[in-house]
């Protein structure tokens, strides 16, 4: 299926680059969200890492959908993208309108287009395994399926939704393909444990591979007016500002994936690809390297910024000196105008601080 370049024939990568990443405040802000940052200390932003991971699969068949406010930053980080490869949304409408608009644009460019949608702010450490999973998903998508990639759980996470596996599909070139029985919401700890122990569940990473037109047809079953609006905007981009505000704010999971799964029309390729959504500082702590001189102290930033005596945890610096003495398993995030100190256990509560700041009108800090 691959052409001479190694690209997967007919596949377009769609990269929804949205979300403020409030649980990663104060690194991630509305004005400078998570995907624009080098969170893992790789030397590249998550967005640029996403491009690196996808370009061997699709070449320049790529479409980034982002907030209009971030269009310039996206273009600056991905200068190799053509003018038409970045679409700016006037306002955030959640994932369905973003991916649906990409589908409407792509079916005009190529009626046979398959789209693979992969978030701009996730991490995938095993690119070879990722490619093998996408290749199988493409085979299934060509057969008209809505296909998701189901991540093998490494622990009973309560932070992700799960996919319940159904029967094997037995499709040539997609050996691991299974039917999806259902998508389930983020479980409590006990439920997560039973999911993982059963072996029947995979993490929902929000990765979808599907024909552009297939996706719009599935969407039209529940939201025909949205499909009409999206196709109109794709045909007449100048009408974006007029039509966008009226489009329903909804996630692709609720708009399409869950109802289609209930109807037995979703496939999954289970895979183990080193995926993480980098959802909070607890997750991030597992992804960044140790400080070169202080084992146990995970570092984002310049090692010279850190002075540590008997300290462990995660520390993110941004030019100022951070001195840690006799403190363990803390999360310390230092930025120009705010510093956060918490623990991995409370990492989910960081969003509450952002809520407080928002309520207090501190738009300068969010």
């Amino acid at each position: 299926m691959d052409d001479a370049t190694g690209h997967i024939d007919g596949l377009w990568a769609v990269i929804p680059a949205g979300g403020a990443g409030t649980r990663l405040w104060p690194m991630s802000r509305r004005t400078s969200p998570k995907f624009l940052h080098d969170l893992t200390g790789s030397g590249q932003s998550l967005l640029r890492e996403t491009w690196d991971r996808l370009s061997p699969l699709v070449g320049d068949r790529m479409l980034v959908v982002t907030g209009a406010a971030h269009e310039d930053a996206v273009r600056a980080q991905l200068p190799m993208l053509g003018r038409d490869a970045v679409v700016g949304e006037p306002s955030p409408r959640d994932s369905m309108p973003a991916i649906g608009l990409a589908a409407a644009i792509l079916e005009r460019r190529d009626p046979e287009a398959l789209l693979g949608s992969f978030a701009a702010d996730h991490v995938v450490t095993d690119r070879a395994a990722f490619r093998r999973a996408v290749e199988q998903a493409v085979v299934l998508a060509r057969g008209g399926e809505l296909v998701t990639i189901g991540i093998e759980p490494t622990h009973p996470s309560t932070g992700f939704g799960y996919i319940r596996l159904g029967d094997p599909l037995g499709v040539d070139g997609a050996e691991h393909g299974r039917r999806v029985r259902e998508f389930v919401e983020k479980p409590d700890a006990d439920t997560a444990r039973t999911y993982v122990d059963s072996g029947e569940y995979r993490w929902n990473a929000g990765m979808f591979v599907v024909g552009a037109t297939t996706l719009l047809e599935l969407l039209a079953e529940g939201h025909p007016e949205m499909v009409l609006a999206l196709r109109t905007v794709a045909a007449e981009p100048h009408r974006m500002r007029e039509l966008w505000p009226s489009i329903t704010k909804i996630a692709i999971d609720h708009a399409v994936a869950e109802p289609a799964a209930a109807a037995g029309r979703v496939a999954v390729v289970p895979a183990s690809i080193g995926w993480d959504d980098v959802g909070d500082f607890a997750a991030l702590g597992g992804l960044v390297p140790d400080h070169p001189e202080h084992p146990g102290l995970r570092l984002i930033g310049d090692p010279a910024d850190v002075l540590a005596l008997d300290a462990t945890g995660l520390v993110a610096t941004s030019g100022r000196t951070v001195a840690l003495i006799g403190v363990h398993d803390l999360v310390v995030v230092d930025t120009q105008d705010a510093v956060l100190i918490t623990t991995p256990e409370r990492a989910q509560d960081v969003k509450k601080v952002v809520e407080q700041l928002t309520k207090a009108g501190r738009t300068d800090l969010t």
Copy 2:
């Protein structure tokens, strides 16, 4: 003994304003030491609080001895002082040369002068008790004694030296006066416990009341060349830069108090005056008020700078937002160019960070 103003007749207050306060880094710096800061959130610097405490006792009979580098800052904080009331040392030589120079200056102004030496960076919360102790010390000093004020211990501190009490002196107007048996160095925890349990020991707060000439005579017994140099500088101030560098660097305790005590020539007025040397962040944590909205969170700075969810400890801010989530009993000190995170238990180790920075040539941070 008081004149109509309430001042104690013939008493001069000498305020040694030195020491970098390295255990209070990054608030306290070489270039901006502890005594210049409002550490306790009282709205005034420790130096200005010291002036407030002493001026009812001595009026304008006051002499501040400080590093030449801090002379301007001292004058700015105490604009009520006359030109001759601030003496700048070209280099730090510890407490004996500083207080000895003050004595040499004062005996020229008033051969009968008594001096009371009180550090610029300590806290005294009970001013009435302080006054009563000083009044008794003055009575004893008039009789030719070197007098110290011995602080009743509130806990078995290992951070202070101790004074071992001897027999009552039975002097009219100095009912609590006792002979000093010996000064002892900072003890270990077990020894400190036996000291406090015995009731025979008081904390050495480094407060001395003594005739200016008496002090110089005591000093001359061990360091006659120093007395000569100090009297020369007092008579010919332009020779300061020439003579100062050759003066021995030594604390008043070692130069005068300990040998005089061994000879049975030191008196002590035991007192309970709410004293603290604010030596580290553990001590400071006990002196500052709670954040108005977060009981258990001691605050130095603007309450609006702090966002706390379930947090206790000591936090010092300087304009940036500090967010604390689910962390307890931490010490967090935020400054323009450095942030410190430690615990009260490790408060003494803060000076090690300053040593590391000094070794690394980071004079910008120390």
